[in-house]
Amino acid sequence: MRVRNRLQNLCVRGLSQAMDVYTMSHLIRRMFPNYDLNERTGFPDSIPIPRKDAAAQIVEDCVNAGRMLEFVAMLIDVDRDGIMGRVYRVALLRKIVEEIVDEGYLYDAEKRRFVEDSVQQRTKNWGLLHEGEEYLFTFLRLDIVGNSTLVRSYSAEAIAQTYSDLRSIVQSIIEKRDGRVWSWEGDGGVCAFHGPGASNPASLCAMEILHELYLYNTLHCQLSEPLRVRIAVHNGNCEFHDAFEDIKSEVIKKLVDIESRFTDPYSVTVSKTAHSTLDAAISGYLSDFQPDSRNSLYRYSLKFEG
């Protein structure tokens, strides 16, 4: 995120007015555990650091580390909850938040962090994640069944139109629930959802994609046969890289494995770890199955009643 001088100055003033240097030092260690304010400012231990200098150094370090949004979210937490039972009011907080909103972010009170205002922008990293750092993700992988046969059987135009329609369906459903399409290769792709509760939106997206694909097949599909997909959902810690091909992760490998080996056409398979974090309201729609002695998985598909 671009950090304007005005925002930086507001943060310095807000922080220096809200708390003493000792508390500032304590607070910033929540983000940088080994942070040494004396070392960073150049003041020796024997000389007290002026509040404004301490605040300016902290804010500058947050800007340089690309973690300004995280820092302001922490100030919001401090303003609301205090520190160790003591109340700290960050006087300029409202103006600080307004500046960030102007940059295209919204504060999500439930997640206690800033998120991209999807009306203004939508980046692969939600404007938050840092290259090379590890985060908890839930991934959704989708693959068109029988891609090679379809490509051989129909005209290039019909295939291009059909696959493009599928991508539009997937993208709108994924982005509606704050997911991101990280990779799309014509016959399928990988989508990512960030955070501890992300298996819920990922699973709901997978279900809705099946529903919308049924409607598409019923009403619009140009091919003389229905378009079928396999969808897998799996979660775990994974390094973030802006270029998808740079992500080398066991989580992605397992995701591909679940999709290609254990998922029936026109169905969703959810891994055991993703299933374990699902709300009961969603997990109730999945039925468990054991494809082999090492794997326990959960399936979702559609059927007609009699």
Partner: protein, 375 residues
């Protein structure tokens, strides 16, 4: 699958509660005396269990003859009610005789003494589907199944829509049997709300929408919780129906009436209703936050009414408004999308296999649309 239990015994009702907890099937409990009225109006496919506790031999015989006229061995075109008998005291001398009448399950004294294993119900349902498939393909109804074809392996023929197979062979509805819509009475209200004036009569799409199991909800939830639930449901309605011009026009308790402008061409309200019913599980989980899902109900019609703003509708007199309320409240099955003959001409041809005739209600032909559900 829908499972309906007809019993006046509290213990029998409790015995079936494992079905509700398993969430695999939708369970509804009825009094024994509701059996005939319910079966007369129900036109879907369901598995019903009837408790014969307290009936003498003669009454059981009468009941079996009645049930057999509804089940898969019936020669009626819509004979697709599957039934089992619950005999808590083990009163029947010859339980095998039930199967000659078309029963697909029998729960006797010994089984009733233990708890219900829902896998048994799954097996009973699977058996029932096989019976149905054989009945449909062999009883002469197959002559109407223009799209049926034998598979190479000689298995029962499969039909599908949108890539999802029907569980059994179904009769294709002949759309030509629906009389043309009475368009002479249409007073087109346009493609949006811009030209609609108060106190003027127009033709609208009507959608009766309802959150079901309202009696259970009323008993289990506080007034505040119910209000929040209804509020969340209405927000979901706005999201699904708003883009096709739908507005909530009247509302009471757990159900209401939505209006859509009618221009004589667009069929967007039907698609929105179809999507809404299909996505019931998503709405339950995401919007209502319910781990025990509630089914929704939508009934669609086209008709005329004088328009007034929502909240000022108390003095409106309209046959169409009366009809859609009666249809929704008295006839339309839970969890389904019910449509009148007025809607049929607007459906795209590809949806024709989804139409299931339900008979007549207040003199007009009524249908439901098959909607896929979680397997």
């Amino acid at each position: 699958m829908e499972v309906h239990v007809f019993s006046n015994s509290k213990r029998s009702a409790e015995w079936f509660d494992a079905i509700r907890r398993s969430k695999k099937h939708l369970l509804e409990l009825h009094g024994y005396e509701e059996l005939k009225a319910w079966t007369r109006q129900y036109a879907g496919s369901a598995l019903i269990y009837v408790d014969i506790l307290g009936l003498d031999e003669k009454e059981v015989g009468k009941l079996m003859r009645y049930l057999s006229s509804l089940g898969p061995i019936s020669r009626k075109p819509n004979g697709n009610l599957l039934f089992g008998i619950l005999d808590p005291k083990g009163a029947l001398k010859d339980s095998a005789e039930l199967f000659h009448f078309g029963a697909i399950d029998y729960i006797g004294k010994q089984l009733f003494a233990s708890s219900l294993d829902t896998r048994r119900l799954d097996r009973a349902a699977g058996f029932a589907q096989n019976v149905l498939t054989r009945a449909v393909t062999s009883n002469g109804n197959g002559a109407n199944h223009a799209e049926l074809s034998e598979t190479e392996t000689g298995e029962p023929p499969k039909q599908s829509v949108g890539g999802i197979d029907f569980p059994q062979a179904v009769g294709m509805f002949d759309i030509r049997s629906v009389p043309a819509a009475d368009s002479a009475s249409y007073r087109y209200s346009g493609s949006d709300w811009s030209v609609i004036e108060p106190d003027t009569e127009y033709t609208f799409w009507f959608a009766f929408v309802s959150l079901n199991a309202s009696r259970e909800l009323a008993g289990q939830q506080s007034t505040g919780q119910s209000a929040r639930l209804v509020g969340a449901f209405q927000e979901a309605l706005d999201r699904y129906f708003g883009p096709s011009g739908g507005k909530i026009w009247m509302w009471k308790d757990f159900s209401g009436l939505m209006l859509f402008p009618f221009d004589g061409t667009a069929w967007a309200p039907v698609l929105a209703a179809y999507r809404f019913i299909m996505n019931q599980n998503l709405v339950n989980a995401e919007d209502l936050g319910l781990s025990v899902p509630i089914s929704f109900q939508v009934a669609l019609d086209i008709g005329n009414t004088t328009y007034r703003e929502a909240g000022k509708t108390g003095t409106i007199i309209s046959d169409s408004v009366n009809y859609i309320f009666h249809l929704g409240q008295k006839f339309a099955p839970h969890g389904s999308l019910t449509i009148t003959s007025q809607i049929i001409p607007f459906l795209p041809e590809r949806m024709t296999p989804l139409i299931v005739p339900m008979g007549k209600f207040e003199g007009r032909a009524v249908y439901r649309l098959r909607v896929p559900t979680p397997a």
